[in-house]
């Protein structure tokens, strides 16, 4: 719970004047009650589940408690001892971090660049362009994943058709472009070590393309808002001081973009880290689990493997990974610093 700090007063609401404190508690109680039922209690129960060999039969009325296995589920996960093909826990964590980082970096850079372009003085139809580029965001995720999967289809996909057309101009046979984007498991960059190539399957780039198409517009919206809040006088003053275009961008634009973009980048990182629908519906986690994300793996542990206790332990681990990421990024960016600091 975030402390409510009022300038000139002590920080803790507990020491508010009595009537105010009671009122605050009264207002918070309903929300806390609902959160307790739908969030905190299931979380606590799931944590308990993670120490048991929970099975579907344990849901039945009057069913005996599941066997207590202590840290057994956690140990099996870390040791990749689940009897599931292509399950490598540490690799999945690294891939998931790499996936989120690569996406956010591209989204932010592209979003800012396009926002800058659309902020150019004299550009016509600005409102139209801004409305147009937000379109991908309003399309349902399952549609996005299905369309992109079809576009990357080996035989009938638009991407291979396009490449074949371009190749045709250079007399390259069309068969050359029967690329199996989502299932090719060979090394994309033969000059890199196999350990690095493992995290760079062709499917990764197909997913990256789809998520870039989906992800940059909102970054551009946020950047556009920040850009429009920069007073024009600052640029005029910088010009008077002899600043060039790069110096104005670095010392004025970036400075004003930072408070808006960094919190959004953190948010984007967490959202991308947990992005379910592309990996699940587009690549299916393939080839050989190399684009599997922690969130899709957790789903499969329940839905396909029916390993409820293991899935609970997996989700707890995911929670702590995300908690660590959030704390680190918050620390770095001071994104959630209170106004009174």
């Amino acid at each position: 719970m975030t402390a409510v700090a009022i300038p000139g007063q002590r920080r803790s609401w507990i020491r508010m004047p009595g009537r105010n404190a009671r009122l605050v508690i009264l207002y918070l109680l309903p929300a806390f009650f609902v959160m307790g039922i739908i969030t905190f209690y299931p979380l606590a129960f799931q944590t308990w589940m993670s120490f048991t060999d929970f099975a579907i039969g344990n849901l039945r009325p009057g069913a005996p408690a599941p066997p207590w296995v202590g840290l057994g589920n956690y140990i099996r996960i870390v040791e990749n001892n689940l009897g599931i093909p292509n399950f490598y826990f540490v690799r999945q964590v690294i891939y998931n971090l790499w996936w989120a980082l690569a996406n956010v970096a591209i989204h932010v850079v592209l979003g800012v660049a396009i926002a800058l372009l659309l902020n150019t003085k004299g550009l016509r139809f600005k409102k139209f362009w801004r409305a147009l580029y937000i379109l991908p965001v309003v399309i349902p995720p399952i549609i996005v994943a299905t369309v992109w999967r079809n576009m990357f289809d080996t035989r009938n996909g638009a991407i291979n058709y396009l490449l074949a057309e371009i190749g045709g101009l250079f007399r390259i046979p069309a068969e050359t472009f029967q690329i199996d984007w989502l299932r090719f498991s060979g090394d994309v960059f033969p000059f890199l070590p196999s350990e690095v190539n493992y995290f760079l399957p062709l499917a990764f780039f197909a997913l990256l393309a789809a998520n870039t198409w989906l992800g940059w517009p909102l970054n551009a919206v946020v950047a556009t808002g920040a850009l429009q809040s920069i007073p024009g006088e600052l640029y005029e003053a910088a010009e008077m001081d002899g600043a060039g275009a790069w110096q104005k961008f670095r010392n004025v634009t970036l400075v004003y973009l930072r408070p808006a973009m960094i919190p959004y980048a953190i948010y984007g990182f967490v959202i991308t880290f947990n992005l379910f629908f592309l990996a699940y519906f587009m690549s299916g986690g393939g080839p050989f689990g190399r684009t599997e994300q922690l969130v899709t793996q957790a789903f499969r542990l329940v839905n396909q493997q029916r390993l409820y206790g293991i899935a609970a332990a997996f989700s707890v681990i995911m929670f702590f990974i995300l908690l660590a990421i959030t704390l680190v990024t918050n620390r770095l960016a001071r994104a959630t610093a209170s106004f009174d600091r």
């Binding site: 209690y41 299931p42 579907i56 849901l59 039945r60 035989r155 299932r183 090719f184 969130v295």
Partner: protein, 412 residues
């Protein structure tokens, strides 16, 4: 309280990715006036006994195929409803990929439909989890016209766990306009590929299981231990790699292969009777034959049994009577005529040539095992097949690795 928490936690684990496709059914408690049904003669929706009364919920997956199964089901339901005016049947279609998990979760939580018609894919698991009710031996005794194959496929450890409706196995579809004589052997299939016949196969263990028998391979011994590494299966995998090398299309997405056959880009595929309606409509000169035999003998696709499962949480007596009405000889005839089902009732003859071919495929198939060890088959052998076809891995090593992983997971 712990059940509530368990349900909440399981729902949390399922997260948002499990689509909610149904209202929560509310089976009438056994013995309640609402559910008091009067038994009707087996398999007769309009039998001579008192009509059925009460309310049941039925889940099915019949929109997943060509749509003809849904047409047949609706026709049968109309017939049963008109014969039993006091009976309300609420029908809900659930996507095939979701149906077993949805059923498990809801029934384990005390809800779920009264009955569900599905293949016997998870019959053993559902039985072990006590999520389906055994069929009353008195009812079983009335199923005298049901074939032994269908009855065996509906039993787990000798106990009848579903009312059988039809039998299913995959066979070879061919476009008669492009293929004059369908291949009868694996060598002929390779020769057809060399002669520019386009062949497409779903890249998965279910659709390709039949090749195992064609090369003399076996999955498990009597104890449930994987013995696929003892010869035959690796040869089947090598044959599939040969097919791919010769130009066959392998795609893990079922719809891509099915649509390829419909649009004429594939001349030969392997698929089941549930899709026949769509192929007959799209490919005027479609034909069906058994999967090609190989050096080890005839192909042995997995033979499954579609049947009605009864939810133990509801009025099992009424649900059983409704299931019997929905699997009456008349009902099975409707499914055979409209949806190319191979009836479980041996007195019904499917006279369509396509159905007859599927009937032969069913008869020569390998009854789907219901033991717990099968749970660790699919993932490991799908992975082995992918390794052989996608990375050129050695079939013998891939099969040995999959078999070892399966045995390790099963404690064998």
């Amino acid at each position: 309280m712990s059940r509530l928490a368990g349900t909440a936690a399981a729902l949390a684990l399922f997260a948002a990715a499990t689509p909610v496709v149904a209202q929560s059914p509310s089976p009438a408690p056994a013995g309640s006036p609402e559910s008091a049904g009067s038994p009707a003669p087996a398999g007769s929706p309009a039998g001579g006994a008192a009509p059925l009364e009460g309310s049941v919920t039925l889940w099915h997956t019949y929109s997943s195929g060509a749509g003809t199964e849904l047409t047949a089901l609706n026709q049968v339901l109309d017939s049963v409803r008109s014969a039993n005016p006091g009976l309300t049947i609420e029908v809900l279609e659930v996507p095939f990929g979701e149906v077993f998990n949805k059923y498990q979760l809801e029934v384990a939580s005390g809800g779920g439909p009264d009955l569900m018609v599905v293949p016997n894919d998870s019959l053993g698991q559902l039985t072990r989890d006590q999520l389906i009710a055994p069929i009353d031996p008195a009812v079983e005794a009335t199923l005298t016209d049901i074939s032994q194959l269908a009855l065996d496929g509906s039993k787990v450890d000798g106990v009848l766990m579903q009312i059988p409706e039809s039998l299913k196995a995959v066979a070879l579809y061919y476009n008669g306009d492009a293929v004059a004589t369908p291949p009868a052997t694996t060598d002929e299939l390779l020769a057809a590929l060399a002669a520019d016949t386009s062949v497409g196969l779903v890249q998965g263990s279910y659709h390709n299981f039949g090749w195992w028998g064609a090369f003399g391979g076996q999955l498990m011994d009597d104890t449930g231990k994987c013995i696929a590494d003892q010869g035959g299966v690796a040869d089947a995998f090598a044959f599939l790699a040969q097919l791919k090398e010769a130009g066959a299309t392998f795609d893990p997405t079922y719809d891509n292969i099915a649509n390829g056959f419909k649009d004429g880009s594939l001349d030969i595929i392997v698929d089941g009777p549930w899709a026949a309606g769509g192929y007959v409509e799209a490919v005027p000169n479609v034909g069906v034959v058994a999967m090609p035999s190989g050096p080890g003998g005839p192909a042995q696709p997995l033979t499954g049994v579609d049947g009605y499962l009864i939810n133990p949480n509801g009025d099992t007596a009424l649900a059983t009577q409704v299931a019997l009405a929905l699997t009456s000889p008349e009902a099975q005839q409707v499914f055979a005529d409209i949806a190319y089902h191979i009836p479980a009732n041996s007195t019904i003859v499917a006279d369509d040539p396509i159905s007859q071919q599927f009937a032969e495929a069913v008869a020569s198939g390998f009854p789907r095992p219901q033991n717990i060890e099968l749970n660790n088959f699919w993932g490991n052998f799908d992975n082995a097949l992918n390794q052989v076809l996608d990375t050129g891995a050695d079939p013998t090593a891939a099969v040995a690795e999959a078999c070892a992983a399966m045995n390790t997971a099963n404690g064998k």
